[in-house]
Symmetry: C2
Subunit: 227 residues, 2 copies
């Protein structure tokens, strides 16, 4: 595990024991950071399969300095929810705003690493920020997304044409199931698949789901190197 | 491929090249039969992974003689649909009726083969007949089901406690999506997973879904032989 920064964005990269394979960029969850235990677990699974894995702290998370402007926007978002606005809608709108910053930051990380063929992995906040990133960044060839709803970013999701694996926690107490299904519906990717498992929003993904994700990334990043 | 009959039910078994592994029983689709091209494709994938595969003709299908009573019931079912009854509800009720016969027939096939540790695979009609079979038959330790709705057999599905992989064709023109989700909700299995892919009711399953099903059956039938 090697820490580095790109334009003051703190990031971390994990490399496999053997030759460094294609890169998987992991977007962490809300309130988490680039080396949260779940991120380390995913990074371990992916590097064991030969991938290089990178993650970066999102603004106001991890080793990032306090961002008063973003904090004000988050407070305003919570106030709208308190005033009766739908929680999922408000969260999605806020994440869309943050993504205007993170898309550029994450692109700079890919530039810094010289990555050409990239998988994206992100659930919850990592999905809200990941949808605009995957839609905007042509180096991303496959994406695992999930635990996120489609109220704010369905139009952006429709522009995604690379393969998408979408994960739903079937008993998610934060993202209404209909909103998750709406986002899955919205993806423009000809190859998309939905995997749902019993569990709540923050439950760890089942081991077999991680196995399936390794197979998914391997199929799209390793077996068609010219594609 | 070896043909045999058990109590006049025509059946077929495929064996792997190496040692015969656990059995997978495949229930075929409506209007199909035990050696339909898709069944042969699945049997090939599963035997390549070391499984023994068996399938049997459902009444009024394949090499079975004409059953006037069942045909009358099917005609009555179609008449109810013509008279305005919901198609999925009518089909599910009819399949439930047929399953009273097939559960016993399929048990006799397992007896005949001396099978002890069995996976069940069935979509569409194979799901409608499979739900009561998996619920009733303790030798079945894992089941792939799908392309079926939950209007008639949710209570039966709730009695299933073995691992279930449930497949939905996301653009299924025959099974309303809500009805599929209702059936997935109903399964009592602590380990259940939903895999959905774009496609219509009769489209072939994607190769990667078959790979995932091989992994699913391997995990439940091969790696816990005492479980």
């Amino acid at each position: 595990m090697r820490h580095f920064t790109v334009n003051d964005v703190p990031a971390v990269v994990w490399t496999p024991d053997g030759p460094a394979g294609p890169l998987i960029f992991i977007g962490h969850g809300g309130g988490e950071h680039k080396t949260a235990p779940e991120i380390v677990r995913y990074a371990g699974r992916f590097t064991a399969a030969g991938f290089t894995v990178v993650s970066a702290d999102v603004p106001n998370h991890g080793d990032r300095p306090y961002d008063a402007d973003l904090d004000r926007k988050a407070t305003a978002m919570r106030a709208r929810v308190d005033a009766g606005e739908n929680l999922a809608v408000a969260i999605a709108a806020f994440q869309d705003e943050v993504s205007r910053q993170t898309v550029g930051e994450w692109r700079a990380v890919l530039d810094h690493l010289g990555a050409e063929r990239v998988g994206y992995w992100g659930v919850s906040l990592g999905c809200g920020l990941g949808v605009p990133f995957v839609a905007a960044e042509p180096r991303v060839r496959a994406a695992v997304l999930g635990l996120g709803g489609g109220s704010a970013n369905a139009a952006t999701a429709a522009r995604i044409s690379v393969a998408v694996r979408f994960v739903i926690a079937w008993d998610d107490e934060r993202i209404p199931r209909d909103s998750s299904l709406t986002l899955f519906d919205a993806f423009g990717a000809p190859e998309k698949s939905l995997h749902a498992h019993p569990g709540r929003h923050s439950d760890p993904l089942p081991d077999q789901e991680l196995d399936a994700q390794v197979a998914f990334f391997s199929r799209h990043l390793l077996t068609h190197p010219q594609g």
